[in-house]
Symmetry: C2
Subunit: 350 residues, 2 copies
Amino acid sequence: MLTKRGHDVPVRRGQGRIVIEDSGVDVAETVSRVFGVAASIPAVRVANDFDTIIKTVVEVATSVLTPGQTFAIDCRRVGNQEFSSREVEVAAGNEILNRLGGVSVDLDEPDVTIHAEARDVAYVYHRLIPGPRGFPFGSQGRLVALFSGGIDSPVAAWLMMKRGAAVELLFMDQRPFVDDAYFTRAVAVATKLSAFVPQEEYHLTVAPMGVIMQLIAEHVTPRYICITCKRMMYRVACSLADRDGAAGIVTGECLGQVASQTLSNLKTIEETASTPVYRPLIGMEKLDSIALAKRIGTYELSSSAVSGCSLVPKKPATKSLPVHASAAEEGLDIDGLVIEAIDNLTYVRL
Amino acid sequence: MLTKRGHDVPVRRGQGRIVIEDSGVDVAETVSRVFGVAASIPAVRVANDFDTIIKTVVEVATSVLTPGQTFAIDCRRVGNQEFSSREVEVAAGNEILNRLGGVSVDLDEPDVTIHAEARDVAYVYHRLIPGPRGFPFGSQGRLVALFSGGIDSPVAAWLMMKRGAAVELLFMDQRPFVDDAYFTRAVAVATKLSAFVPQEEYHLTVAPMGVIMQLIAEHVTPRYICITCKRMMYRVACSLADRDGAAGIVTGECLGQVASQTLSNLKTIEETASTPVYRPLIGMEKLDSIALAKRIGTYELSSSAVSGCSLVPKKPATKSLPVHASAAEEGLDIDGLVIEAIDNLTYVRL
């Protein structure tokens, strides 16, 4: 990830920490986007020596505290040390009060906490950038995500990436039944998501849906058009998962969020899945996924206006049965269409 | 829900609101637990008349503001009114400043905001209790949840209830391979969850797993014991879902949270599911589900100590294949065991 972002810095595993040397804030922010990271801490490293630690804490305090602010010192020691944590806190606190005007101590709710960590060396810091937690990208295996570029599907893909899945983004290209903006938006949002991906090579996989949708328009009863379309998307995604060794597919579906995402329709659609379907947003409120999209950085792009699909009928089914869906598909060469879609995949380098 | 909780109060639908008359804070708190509710607002209802509204706003301000606090007045009008919102805000604000000592106006970040809503009648309030949002219990159909009473499964069940599913809680009774505390904890946690359920009759469904587990211990290779046990649980849950007209099952599984919840194991287990499996926690961090459990009120009970299952082998498989799982089950009469479990269900009234 660091190399991908152009940071050529030495990295080594410390005691319970990963230490990146010579790092500026820029590196710390890159690190805070790495899955598996609980927090990224830009710190000053000095010799583990009482006077040096005090001097460094005072220097950090001088650079960050402004008159009127309250502060606290928090010292932790790992292993045996010649001084106690309390001695560091008291000595550094007194020195700061002597040197800086207008600041005061508040141990309960300080404006600024300066941390000193005494290990083999000592680290002094005042800022902790929360990371996404989870597991390193790909450490849990592979998944294929149905990715439209709207608000939900990027959040769903991101959540599964965060839990350690190498997620392949699959965009079902519904042109000419949607406009070009739909495609452009997907590429832009996928590019945003790629900021979290450590792989050098990462792409958006694009499956042509136009021909399939044309046939659906010709053969399928209007009420079942959307369900059939979604069933075809599931089939193509499962087929891709199978080809690429992925252990399941990911969707942004959320129970009841739109009229079509009923338990009955989800069951009718899932019947076509040959691998597990992961729906990390299934129990969330729209407000939750919007908040996540904002945090990930996809919200603004995902909210950009695109035309809806022109094939959507006036009254799509909200209650459906697998047996009716199968009947509705009778005029379609399902297997042939899935093979053709997979044979005609294209890839957009992100 | 109100009747169930012993609140015998008139309820009517207002303009975009549901109005519950004669309600104290107790009722408002019950309402704030009802799925579908965005917020519950304990308000004073008065005539929609300028002087009366001002008088009421001042009364509410007098009862809640303490010296040193800042306040703001927020007035909204629905329909045509003889006065403007601004007139109410200015008049009430001035009156409060005249009457109360030591308070001041802060429109940006007030300590207290007093709201006046002028409709056919007027409502004055200063407090909004956030509701869970989502949809009314059962409005989206039925699901069966695998419910252990630990931290995750109650949160998973609650999230799907919140999205409108009538969730039936299914406890797989693993005694004698777990201790009695396991069962007691499940009943206690299910009772907590039942506070969100409006149905008069609600129960914990208990399926006997002891006989099945004894057979697993005798017939299944140690590495596959846990996977086989989970596959049996899925089968019983799917069979119950089928019997009770539920459109899927719910689990508290989260990718990588415990060593057994790998994509490979989830796929091996899901192979036995005859209905969709919903896993609302699949992309969450443990910290997220703990925060939700605390909010729901199940965390403390769910964290109580219970003995682990004594059948768990030293090295359960973390990578598995459906074909190996099927082979491991060869000595078991799967269909017969599932039918027997369903025939011997018991119910604990909550």
